[in-house]
């Protein structure tokens, strides 16, 4: 089974491709977390049964892949060739789909994605209609390959890049290529990857390490998870190439324990890679040795920070240390270490195989390549997207995300997680890349983009992040620990209607103080959600303080529910959903809300179809 030379790798690929060609059709059921949660496993089982029943198991290949990106429309099923895309598939449909589409080659329009309802449009779905405006470089194999089958990765060109690196390039050549590509770390900071590798390469040491940061702590983001679940080998391949370049022989993947599927798929992938000779001793007969182990995280946001992560790998509490000691020299076990994010590693094989120039064709001058985002929140199409750097926020929100639901007005997007900020709609022509976002007072972060509409209160959002950080601060340094608590207190006051006129200046002062004095980037970027909202939405803060009003209708102490009589048709829906009987009335007569009984649960507001509930 071991592949011992580049020639053998090529032979194996030809062999495997030949075997796959024996299947006339491939049915791919999305097995990403989003689709799984809408029961795609049952869909997979239904297809499996149906194909077996009709004696098609040998001619139709059925696989469960990683996230296709169309989470909103899941469970998704893709049939190739023909690129026929069925959405919100129910297990009961398997019978009909197998009979009509697989056996007779007919499309079932009602199950298809809007815009893809003809054979022609289905046939050219590649990139255009299923994934408008996207360029799927990293995700291109997600949705095509079975993550539990290394053979699938190999038939799609997998490990060719590793073979090229080991046999055609010196470690210095590899680093040169990565430097030339100007690849920047996708974990949030955007540090040039090539430079990091070069510094580590230059250090003389017996033992060095490469680590993959798969802690993805940003609440509302699932890019790294999707890559690990859908295509774990691309990350492993990147890590082996990186290890070869810097001269490391040991690797670690630090992955969130809350991602059981990612842990599982990665574990299987590493075992298979070892069995096939891509990791272990004498890789592909090159003489290079490297092995990888997985560590599961303990659910602490701060462990995404490089030095905290390394402490955690050593079995200690994840407390960061001061930055002046560089991890490329003294990292994991005090030995030279290169730490990169999942998506950063996943970019490496492509750059080495196709060259830096090709990579730089996409993206902006300062931030080349593509970036994966999870586009979520108040948006019609929650999904995973991969776009060239430099794409505008408007394109993301409106064209790709399909805008905000329920005819509401879009208000802002939040990027960069708890270290990032909120950008108002007026800045939606901003071209998203590392520098543009930082300049605007937010951050790229790991790629969570949360869309907010007019019903989202910006003070509440800032408070949400601060509360999150209060519980996630490791407590080691005072500016972060105490600064966050103080911010929490002030924001709590404002959202309760107890804010005072000096509070906003005080928040800004606190923020500057935390930025300057915190030990790690958790603390120094923690004020961003507050400072950015203060910058762009100061009026909203002022309304809370001066007028005791929450214009978005979120802060409970500042709102009172009432019926807008001229809009009320007396449809009784509000009375039906009200858990306390506060909303009541006679059919076809304007209803009313008893504010003494009202617990402000928002059910009536959400239920009303006539905009007749005010708050």
């Amino acid at each position: 089974m071991k592949i011992t030379s580049p020639a053998k790798l090529r032979d194996t690929r030809n062999d495997l491709s030949g075997r796959q060609a024996e299947f006339s059709l491939t049915v791919t059921v999305c097995g990403g977390t989003g689709c799984r949660s809408s029961k795609s496993l049952a869909v997979f089982n239904a297809f499996n049964k149906e194909l077996a029943k009709r004696g098609l198991s040998d001619s139709v290949r059925l696989i469960m892949s990683g996230c296709h990106g169309l989470c909103e429309k899941g469970p998704n099923v893709l049939i190739e060739p023909g690129s026929i895309y069925y959405c919100r598939v129910k297990p009961e449909w398997a019978n009909e789909i197998v009979e009509s589409t697989i056996q007779k080659g007919e499309l079932i329009e009602k199950y298809m994605l809007i815009g893809l309802k003809t054979k022609e449009s289905a046939g050219n779905q590649n990139g255009s209609q299923v994934h408008p405006y996207q360029v799927r470089e990293i995700l291109k194999n997600n949705g095509k390959i079975d993550p539990l089958d290394i053979g699938d990765y190999i038939t799609h060109g997998g490990y060719e890049s590793l073979s090229k690196a080991l046999f055609e390039l010196s470690p210095e050549n590899v680093i040169e290529e990565i430097k030339k590509s100007r690849l920047r770390g996708r974990g949030g900071g955007g540090f040039p990857t090539g430079r990091k590798w070069e510094s580590c390469r230059k250090i003389q040491a017996d033992s060095k390490w490469v680590i993959c940061n798969a802690d993805e702590g940003d609440p509302g983001a699932f890019m790294d998870r999707s890559v690990l679940e859908g295509n774990p080998h691309v990350v492993i391949e990147g890590m082996i190439i990186g290890a070869y370049a810097v001269g490391a022989h040991g690797g670690r993947v630090y992955v969130r324990n809350e991602y059981p599927l990612a842990v599982h798929n990665l574990t299987v992938a590493i075992e298979q890679a070892r069995k096939w000779g891509f990791i272990g001793e004498n890789i592909l007969g090159s003489g290079f040795n490297f092995d990888i182990r997985i560590n599961r995280g303990g659910g602490a946001f701060v462990c995404g920070e490089s030095t905290a992560l390394m402490a955690s790998l050593e079995g200690k509490p994840g407390e960061p240390r001061a930055k002046y000691i560089h991890t490329v020299e003294h990292g994991y076990r005090d030995e030279p270490t290169v730490l990169n994010n999942v998506e950063t590693w996943a970019n490496v094989p492509g750059i080495v195989l196709y060259g830096a120039d090709k990579f730089r064709e996409l993206g902006t001058e300062g931030s080349p390549g593509t970036k994966i985002f999870s586009l979520v929140g108040k948006i019609n199409n929650s999904r995973l997207v991969e776009i060239p750097m430099g794409t505008t926020l408007r394109r993301l929100v409106e064209d790709i995300g399909g805008g905000v639901p329920n005819k509401k007005k879009v208000k802002a997007v939040q990027t960069g997680g708890p270290s990032g900020g909120c950008l108002p709609e007026s800045l939606f022509d901003l071209q998203v890349d590392f520098d543009a976002l930082t300049e605007a007072g937010s951050m790229m972060g790991s790629g969570g983009i949360i869309v907010m509409d007019e019903d989202t209160c910006m003070v509440d959002v800032a408070h949400y992040f601060i509360k999150f950080l209060v519980s996630e601060s490791c407590g080691k340094c005072t500016p972060c620990r105490e600064g966050l608590k103080e911010m929490d207190r002030i924001l709590g006051k404002i959202t309760k209607g107890e804010g005072e006129s000096g509070d906003l200046n005080y928040l800004e002062e606190l923020g500057e103080w935390m930025k300057a004095g915190s030990l790690c980037a958790l603390g120094s970027s923690a004020p961003n959600p507050v400072l950015s909202t203060l910058n762009y939405f100061r009026d909203e803060y002022m309304m809370h303080i001066a007028d005791n009003k929450c214009p978005a209708g979120v802060c409970k102490n500042l709102i009172e529910y009432h019926v807008i009589e001229k809009n009320c048709t007396g449809c009784t829906l509000c009375a039906k959903v009200c858990p306390t009987g506060a909303a009541s009335g006679v059919t076809k007569q304007p209803h009313s809300i008893d504010t003494v009984l009202c617990i402000k649960c928002d059910e009536c507001y959400k239920a009303c179809k006539f905009e007749a509930i005010g708050k």
């Binding site: 989003g34 079995g315 929140g377 929650s382 928002d602 059910e603």
Partner: protein
């Protein structure tokens, strides 16, 4: 050791430690495996781990209390993870948290006295498209409203065959 043996299966603890190569660096992994087994960290296991790995008890304690994933309180038969990720937050999950806490009469992070339910906040369950969302084991419930969330509790109570009224 005698008391220990009465409370928990110490052999299983030993097997978990052995599997990790008795390496202090593997402490977090060992604790995770113990928690997978018992659904919480039984105190006797902790002192045993310290002994076996040759590290001070307070080091084990420091790790257990630092990481949010570890719990010293047994989880409920139905462990409910409420997603409080950003996407679910802007879609109003706070109201769901309030409804569940009121209904079960516990705060998140705790277990009902009858051991049936426990509540935990999770940060992004990866199902943002169906937010606000909760997960009970492998089962996801999305697009929640207050009343839908309460129906789920009713449903789970029925499944469990207990009538709490």
């Amino acid at each position: 050791m005698a008391i220990l043996a009465n409370e928990i299966d110490i052999d299983l603890v030993d097997r978990i430690i052995d599997r990790s190569g008795s390496d202090p660096e593997a402490l977090i992994g060992i604790l995770q495996d113990i928690q997978t087994e018992w659904h919480y960290l039984p105190l006797p296991a902790l002192s045993h781990i310290a002994d076996r790995l040759g590290i001070p008890y307070n080091r084990v304690w420091a790790v257990v209390t630092f990481y949010e994933a570890f719990t010293l309180e047994p989880l409920g038969k139905y462990h409910i993870q409420i997603c409080t990720g950003t996407a679910c937050h802007v879609r109003g999950v706070a109201e769901i948290v309030r409804a569940l806490e009121d209904e079960l009469m516990i705060e998140t992070g705790h277990t009902t006295p009858d051991g049936e339910f426990s509540l935990e906040c999770a940060h992004c369950l990866g199902a943002c498209s169906m937010g606000p969302v909760i997960a009970v084991g492998d089962e996801f419930f999305g697009h929640l409203t207050r009343s839908k969330a309460l129906e789920i509790i009713e449903e789970l109570r029925k499944r469990s065959g207990v009538d709490l009224k």
